[in-house]
């Protein structure tokens, strides 16, 4: 059987399949459907220094081949997260990657400091959630802000740091380079693309927040393009995501240059997806007599 182990910033993953932050809770809900021990890692829902109530409802809307969400990063804050969610995740033999969100640099730093003292494997910094208004969006959309926040986090973080990039930019490679230059250990992309849906009969926005982040198979070609572009631009590993619905999609991201892949919105459509991605990747490698998954990472240039 093919080797599916990959390594990101010194952390070994039994396979390249992880979850996209915000689509898998902290693993508990989907542990009814999949064996978390089979996954390369679980990336948690974003956690802030204090509890966040999130946005008003409606928070989600279906669109052609995908969905919009404007959850607004509702989360219980780092205290409850460490006590409850991290305790739960520790029971499994999988990497734990904690997604960190904030409204100011000091918010982020506070969470990072708290996580430093835990035994999580990595942290992912959400500088790109399009639904948080108070400045957070700017972090991920300007190269100098990306550099600055990465730099500050990197200087105090005791765990490998993954910067999660926004696709809502003119040139994502600028952001990738800024993150790399500031010491990021890896980047993950893409976060959701800002979209809007109008209910023409009610003459109003479907989402209370007006706009929401789009995810699902509809955005996959944009995500693959950005992963490819970043893979040509930086040397740090990439966790690729955006509409992955099956093993073939995962292979596409790997070939475009991602070292790992994340299942996102399609978890909602197929709660067994993460496990099926692990199986699907293995099946593809075996069928094509590829001995090591590393042989296909970035093989299309």
């Amino acid at each position: 059987m093919a080797n599916t182990k990959i390594n990101i910033a010194g952390v070994e993953f039994k396979n390249p399949v992880v979850t996209a932050s915000g689509t898998f809770g902290s693993g508990m809900e989907y542990s009814e459907f999949v064996d978390l021990n089979r996954l390369g890692g679980v990336v948690t829902k974003g956690v802030a220094n204090i509890p966040w109530p999130g946005n008003p409802t409606p928070r989600v809307a279906e669109v052609y081949g995908g969905m919009l969400n404007a959850i607004g990063l509702q989360n219980p804050g780092i205290d409850v997260f460490i006590e409850r969610d991290l305790e739960f995740l520790k029971r499994f033999d999988t990497n734990v990657i904690v997604n960190v969100c904030g409204k100011s640099v000091s918010d982020y730093l506070e969470v990072v400091e708290r996580l430093n003292d835990t035994d999580i494997d990595m942290m992912e910094i959400n500088i790109s959630c399009p639904n948080v208004k108070e400045g957070a969006i700017a972090f991920g959309q300007k190269a100098d802000s990306v550099f600055d926040i990465t730099n500050q986090i990197r200087s105090i973080a005791k765990k490998p740091v993954i910067m999660k990039l926004s696709p809502n930019v003119t040139d994502i490679t600028e952001m990738a380079r800024a993150a790399e230059a500031a010491g990021a250990d890896a980047i993950s992309l893409i976060n959701t693309i800002t979209g809007m849906k109008i209910d023409i009969n009610k003459r109003s926005f479907v989402l209370a927040n007006k706009t929401g982040g789009m995810s699902g198979p509809a955005i996959k070609p944009i995500a693959v393009r950005m992963v490819y572009q970043c893979a040509q631009a930086v040397k740090i590993p990439i966790i690729g995501m955006g509409g992955i619905a099956n093993g073939e999609d995962a292979i596409e991201f790997l070939m475009a240059g991602a070292t790992a892949v994340a299942a996102g919105a399609m978890n909602f459509v197929n709660p067994y997806l993460t496990q099926e991605l692990v199986d699907g990747i293995e099946a593809f490698l075996d069928k094509n007599k590829i001995e090591d998954i590393k042989d296909i990472i970035g093989c299309v240039k």
């Binding site: 898998f24 459907f33 409802t57 928070r59 989600v60 279906e62 995908g66 969905m67 978890n267």
Partner: protein
């Protein structure tokens, strides 16, 4: 244990204008309770998310669920074309369901409005001990059901299990007005209320029940994505800290859809 599974349609029919009844043979039936729901998936790859539809009846012997829904969009329109023998993907069983045990030896009033009527049927069946076939849970079961007009549905079926009072907006049947008007007109004195229907109705029930110190269990709706409590899409404001995020936002799909009216701010 929740699962995504394939069910077999055994019957599908239009029971009122744009209101369809669907019987599905599925393993999910064995754990299903009144007030719970399932997610149904379309075959349309442009419409990916599961459609949450409440359970109208459970037949444990045949391992079948009955879903009654209104055509509201392209998903439900597709379902309306399902025929016996077709397969359908289901996610379930979802949600907490109505707390039936709370009705023990009480006079329970079950209120349903519009497309909120279907879950009331299974609830009436359970609380009445299947219309008296088994030992009833509640001392008395009265249904108060609201429709827009004379185009009713499930009415005769409800009458198998309970006394049924009707309100119609246009007054064509029963009380002219809403279910609260029917409650008042008939001078009902419920010990406990269960309700499912549009938000203004639920709000009315909350405002009627709480000053009278009557427990009211109301079933809420919101746009959903995952259906299993992961995405935090379908929250409602709660008066106390919710168990998940501690921010007074409970997840309708998992903490609900049924809430004690005093727990939620609607």
């Amino acid at each position: 244990m929740k699962k995504k599974t394939v069910g077999f349609v055994t019957r599908s029919e239009e029971i009122s204008v744009d209101i369809f009844s669907l019987w599905i043979e599925t393993e999910l039936a064995k754990d299903a309770k009144p007030g719970q729901f399932v997610g149904i998936f379309t075959n349309d790859r442009s419409a990916l998310l599961p459609r949450p539809i409440s359970i109208c009846e459970v037949n444990k012997d045949k391992s079948a669920l009955r879903l009654v829904y209104r055509i509201a969009g392209k998903g439900t329109r597709e379902f309306s074309h399902l025929q016996a023998g077709r397969r359908v993907s289901l996610l379930g069983v979802l949600g907490n369901g109505f707390p039936c045990e709370e009705a023990e030896d009480k006079c329970a009033v079950l209120m349903g409005g519009g497309i909120g009527v279907p879950p009331i049927l299974e609830l009436a069946k359970v609380l009445s001990g299947n219309g008296g076939v088994n030992k009833p849970i509640a001392k008395e079961v009265i249904c108060v059901i609201g429709y827009r007009d004379a185009q009713t549905f499930l009415l005769e079926e409800l009458q198998q299990y309970a006394k049924v009072l009707v309100a119609t907006e246009d007054g064509s049947i029963g009380t002219k007005g809403n279910v609260i008007d029917a409650l008042n007109e008939n001078k009902l004195n419920p010990d406990i209320i269960y309700a499912c229907g549009p938000m203004p109705m639920l709000r009315g029930i909350k405002n009627w029940a709480e000053p009278r110190q009557i427990p009211a269990f109301i079933s809420l709706e919101e746009r959903m994505a995952c259906g299993v409590g992961a995405c935090l899409g379908c929250v409602c404001t709660t008066s106390k800290k919710d168990s998940h995020s501690h921010v007074n936002n409970a997840r309708i799909c998992t903490d609900g859809p049924v809430f004690d009216s005093r727990e939620v701010i609607i």
